[in-house]
Subunit: 300 residues, 2 copies
């Protein structure tokens, strides 16, 4: 299972029951929270997402609609008796803000927070199963996008073939990694004779808030699902540029250039009650576009 659940799809001002930005990425048994606008803890409850399963929270930037819900979520995790580590990734002033708010409340959290300050592009989490990297986007204040990548899946062994070639079971792990096998007679058994490729690893890029920036297409090249903000419809391109946001057509253009499989759009301005035009305009440029709808989960 690799998917993203939308908890908030609106821009700064909550409107029409739409909430500020927050997304939960599920990758097998891991939950990652990306951004945490006001009300995220209530949205987690509404959509029955277990907050105790969240071990990594990524905050793109310090505009309130992307992090005002964080202190409440953290405080609640404490009240619920969480004891295991929580990893937080965000711009460094976030740490001071949280500390100040915990201090004035005389709150001693029962779990450790490990804070990772975002300061340069690159990998910020690396395990045997996945990696997360960050990259800067072009916004009014320092802002970061994130790419979550599954690790390469092991190749699948074809049972009848390994028996046929007499390869011992002790060598299977090496085969899964792609190695050839040399038998007692010095003959090379090519890996591709006895294994088949597993499904390719998938990836999710979250481009946060950003103005149109072609370098994002490079950074997110070939990801499975690209989330790109579309604060405005295409007729407000000038306003989008001035405010360091993007339009439908700009987001879809990045998706085309990045050659991604699917595009997810969100961060809709409160100007708009209906979202149909967002979908129509983006799909004209990049057909496999989807609206980020709150409560919906999109497979990655």
């Amino acid at each position: 299972m690799f998917g993203v659940t939308i908890l908030g799809n609106n821009s700064a001002l909550p409107a029409y029951e739409r909430h500020p930005t927050a997304q939960v990425v599920t990758l097998n048994d891991q939950l990652f929270l990306i951004d945490c606008g006001e009300g995220t803890q209530m949205q987690l409850t509404r959509y029955k997402i277990r907050r105790s399963k969240i071990n990594h929270i990524f905050i793109s930037h310090l505009h309130g609609d992307h992090y005002f819900g964080l202190i409440g979520l953290i405080t609640s995790m404490g009240l619920l008796g969480r004891e295991h580590e929580l990893h937080l990734y965000g711009p460094s002033p976030l740490q001071d803000i949280l500390k100040m708010q915990l201090d004035v409340a005389a709150t001693n959290l029962p779990f450790p927070i490990v804070f990772h300050s975002l300061d340069k592009e690159g990998v910020i989490v690396e395990t045997t199963k996945f990696s997360v990297a960050c990259f800067p986007t072009q916004h009014r204040i320092p802002c970061w996008g994130f790419i979550i990548r599954e690790k390469k899946n092991p190749r699948k062994i074809q049972k009848e073939k390994v028996v046929q070639y007499g390869i011992p079971a002790a060598y299977y792990d090496k085969l899964k990694e792609g190695s050839d096998f040399e038998n007692k007679n010095g003959e090379i058994i090519k890996n591709e004779w006895v294994t088949i490729p597993n499904k390719p690893p998938h990836s999710y890029a979250f481009c946060a808030d950003t103005k149109f920036d072609e370098t994002l297409a490079e950074k997110t090249k070939g990801v499975t699902v690209l989330y790109h903000e579309t604060t405005y419809l295409k007729d407000l391109e000038e306003r989008a540029n001035t405010r360091f946001h993007s339009t439908t057509v700009q987001a879809a253009t990045i998706a085309v250039k990045a050659n991604v499989q699917r595009l997810l759009i969100g961060h809709f301005s409160s100007k708009y009650e209906k979202l149909d035009n967002f979908l129509a305009e983006a799909q004209e440029v990049f057909p496999d576009t989807h609206l980020a709808i709150e409560g919906a989960t999109y497979q990655i």
Copy 2:
């Protein structure tokens, strides 16, 4: 019109669709916001309360469930183009927290915030029509209650009587204030011969979070409506004391001792899904008790 609308009635951990503390007091054309837990701005929208009408916000203390929604509300007021002054009353570190959050977002609010640090008991707002006073409560960290009082209403002139006694119209304002009138012949026309009392001024006391503290009955003596927290049912009195909270019976006891007209109870622990027992237990001690229900308005 003098009334209080409940936006949040739950204690720290949001549960069962109940929100953290926030109340809007309407006094004629004035709206006062008391406390501002996470999600208050969404609750204001839900219950169609115009945030532009709020000119005074009172924050009782710096536990998150009483103020985490403030920065979001303020930011949204700015995005909506508010220009008129907003008066904020709260413990002094609140000012630093807000400043830090506005600074990192590079936000310049289009309206001035006038911050009033709470440090001693007494009147904090005084106009010709109402006053607001604060008083300390006993909680884990510094915490303040508030009393909003209408000013004494002018006496009502009885038209036929003032004509009968020949009192000139220019003197009516003095009559409303309670003065007697002396006519040309040196005769004293007693005020009570020509006016009748208006309805008595009403008052609302908000006791914030507090453990059982009999001095609160003195401080809130005779108010029209008393809001007192009831985090727990009566069987958990020990837990209430330890955590600086109150039970149903304790709140109702304060209402009896303070000789108030009505009691409003709230700040229910997330332990409890149903609230019926809160009402039953408090009414046994103080019959005119009401549950603070979100979205409901209680006349003061």
